[in-house]
Symmetry: C2
Subunit: 504 residues, 2 copies
């Protein structure tokens, strides 16, 4: 049901793929050499000096590919902006990647230094330092696609920089003309909360226009196949405190008569969800923008991974009333992050606790407003008979209301993003991207996790598609971060396909 | 409805009370002097050397009153046993008191040393060191009954030793003949769990017979009136762990689909109690031995303290479906002591926790067997669809059952005790004790708290009545433990009335 490619177009794609592969076969050593050099520059967001060294190194990498580069200074680490405009006035594709990385604790890494990239002939076995490191083979020697590169940012998020720029090399060397305009935004503070990105985007808004923005971050789907995602869930988080007596009470002297806040909290939380996991908070699903037919079909086409996930994480019962895993991610969720009241285990004491606290997050989908969703939960708490306080209740309040609770917003949330797959530009991306690989790309309408993509969509008003390339088992944000080399190669091909996508 | 005292008997009681008071007025200074000397000997249970010094001091106090004393050695601190037998073969009254005390942290006391008794002209005001200490007045100078003595064990439990022995003095000096046989068991390890008491009782069982045993410990009722209690609740405690995924999961990636153990635990706990507080575990109330008419009337006669307690502890809603506070204490309770799952507050993270744990205690009343009650809760958990594990479930178990939990017995419990008020000996105690004071004594069928009174009832097979004398605001087990002097005086009178109680 995606726009069917003509036989001719398919032939072109096969040829393109062949050309990119041919180029890569001939330059694997050179590509990895440049990538290793990039990984060697420490890039922890807080290490401003080294992050800037990365920016200068990447600037050179870009300029080598004929990209005009500007370093956009912010109050934090710089944003690297690049342009490679075509003489045709074709569509403009913009690519977002971040070049900073997560903090490192070298003592937790199998190899001593996270910024000395290490090649291994496979994935590290759990709890072992096998397989052992090996040197990078000399030029012309074969490189296996299952080998892995261990280093901070190998996957998150330097791999897309290498794959994107070497894809350009492959296209240029094959004599193809890149007719689309290309723009690049490489951020240096993503792992530190993107503090200065929004103001930078606003400041340079005038020339940051494009037809589509690709967010090149995160791993491909569990199956390892090329993946596009069109949205992410938003998030808001709250904390509910149920108040009991003004001090813990002896459970013998008062058990059966004094109110127990842990019991009341349990009842309150239980009232918010059916056994099936369906949230019973009034109106919780009312503002959800339904999926289009195209999006529904995309979800239907995603390979089922339920049984694998259950085995991996050791459970057999699920929420979602029999919905598939992917279907449940298209809906808002109300999830308990934690509960605390009194003590358990060795610390348990025979008391009636004075309060009980639960932290919850609400994952949002397109149509949900964070404040509105919080208000709905608040209304539910009130409907259960609670009087809501702004803080620790005073004596007068305690004597006036039998049920007392506080609902706090833990962190100001942000809404979900979802670019409609039905937009012409999105259909073109999907079409251009199809027919290359053995399997068509996986199209995910919404990732389960949350990213503040709204920053881009609000400021730049450009449709956004997520374009991840790395393996899902990359130890993202953890020690022993790694990249499977086959995914770097697949990433090059993916980028080549996107760069060459047809205009209107 | 208690056996009505004749006018004549009432006159006798008034005379007795007068005599005891007369004696006390003339000897207040001397009584307090001896009591201060006793308080000066440190008595923390673990301090064997000093505890023994207490035993030797008390032995002398007893011998001074014509009591035959034997030090019963145990593997821990000694038990002091005493007898004062009458030439008549009248009934035998046995008194249990413990002479050891709770540990102390002198830095937390207002006065520097918990074993240097300090006299104050009133109760310490909260957060203040006022009123200031004062010296013990000289002989003949008036002593106010609202003054307080601050020292470890002043109330718990040396006050009854002083009150009981000085009551004997008062009776002896007034020329009255004590016709009842008196036996005394003073324990030295109560605050350390009475580890060696049971074996000691068994060893010396032959001569430890009596018609009634008075447990002289704990405070009188909130109102300050003389109090008798006939039972205590038993206790057993459990811990319920509900298992989720084998590791915490990202709530974005999996929220709405992976099972949330905190949510399941909340639902499970909520299923165990109605809004009203009534426990819905099947058969929870089935084995409760109903109260007799006499016991019901006793409860009815206890002054209502509900409104005061609500004000004191700052709540207006209660459990118990409108039952009075005392009525709820006559029933078993299922109380959540604590819940823990994931994190809350500053530590909250957006996860699905891997497990959720609740600790609970079950207070038992007469008729409830600890094991049976735990089995009923276990059956309830199973009825909610849970498969129960003995520990962390293995992968096979995880894959086989959608709901997994573990129920552990936290501490082996013990059953409740309740001596029937309808026994002739109990009716005599109540009768003898009535008509002395402005108000009749408060009769509590069951205290809310738990004590291992079963140790005595099982071994010695004697009816047991609790006979507390000290003020309820004595800071029991805490720093600044104290005794209101008026309660010591009232205790003397109480003991005198009991010692002189009529035979059959």
């Amino acid at each position: 049901m995606f726009a069917v490619c003509t036989l001719c177009a398919d032939m072109d794609k096969k040829k393109l793929l062949q050309d990119v592969r041919q180029y890569r076969y001939a330059h694997e050593h050179e590509i990895l050499k440049e990538f290793f050099d990039l990984l060697t520059i420490p890039n922890v967001s807080s290490d401003a000096e080294n992050v800037r060294k990365n920016a200068l190194f990447i600037r050179k990498m870009m300029e080598k590919r004929g990209i005009n580069v500007r370093i956009l200074e912010t109050e934090g680490n710089p944003v690297i902006y690049g342009e490679r405009m075509s003489s045709d006035s074709r569509q403009t594709l913009m690519f977002y990647i971040h070049y900073d990385g997560q903090p490192v604790d070298p003592s937790k890494w199998t190899d001593s230094s996270p910024f000395t990239p290490v090649l291994r002939p496979g994935k590290l076995r759990a709890g072992s330092s096998e397989p052992k490191p090996m040197p990078l083979p000399g030029a012309g020697e074969p490189i296996d696609e299952d080998w892995r590169i261990y280093a901070r940012a190998a996957s998150d998020d330097k791999a897309p920089i290498s794959a994107l720029l070497t894809a350009l090399d492959a296209l240029d060397r094959s004599g193809r003309e890149v007719k689309n305009n290309l723009k690049f935004i490489f951020e240096g503070e993503e792992e530190a909360g993107s503090t200065h990105l929004l103001s930078c985007l606003k400041k340079h808004k005038d020339y940051l226009d494009a037809d589509i923005l690709f967010m090149c971050d995160g791993p491909v789907y569990f199956t390892g196949d090329p993946t596009l995602f069109f949205g992410v869930r938003g998030i808001t988080s709250i904390q509910i405190t149920v108040y009991g007596p003004n001090t813990s009470l002896h459970s013998g002297h008062f058990g059966n008569w004094a109110p127990n806040p842990a019991n009341n909290l349990a009842r309150l939380l239980a009232s918010m969800k059916e056994n099936s996991g369906r949230v019973t908070v009034k109106g919780f699903y009312d503002t959800v923008v339904p999926l289009s037919e195209l999006e529904k079909e995309a979800i239907h086409n995603i390979p089922k991974c339920e049984e694998d996930l259950k085995k991996l994480y050791g459970f057999s019962g699920t929420e979602g009333s029999g919905k598939t895993y992917q279907e449940t991610l298209q809906l808002p969720s109300l999830n308990i992050n934690g509960i605390n009241s009194g003590w358990v285990g060795d610390q348990a004491r025979t008391i009636i606790p004075h309060q009980a606290v639960a932290s919850l997050d609400i994952r949002l989908v397109k149509g949900n407003d964070p404040d509105d969703m919080v208000q709905k939960v608040i209304a539910h708490v009130k409907n259960q008979g609670y009087h809501l306080c702004d803080g620790e209740p005073d004596q007068k309040t305690r004597m006036a209301f039998p049920l007392l609770a506080r609902v706090e917003v833990r962190e100001n949330g942000y809404r979900a993003s979802r670019t409609s797959m039905d937009l012409p530009i999105c259909r073109r991306v999907i079409d251009s991207f199809s027919g290359y690989f053995e399997k068509n790309p996986l199209l995910l309408p919404t990732l389960g996790g949350s990213l503040p993509i709204y920053m881009f969509s609000d400021t730049l008003n450009i449709p956004i598609i997520g374009l991840p390339i790395v393996n899902h088992d990359n130890n993202q944000h953890q020690p022993d971060e790694n990249l499977r080399i086959g995914h770097l190669w697949q990433g090059m091909e993916t980028f080549a396909a996107i760069i060459m996508m047809e205009d209107r």
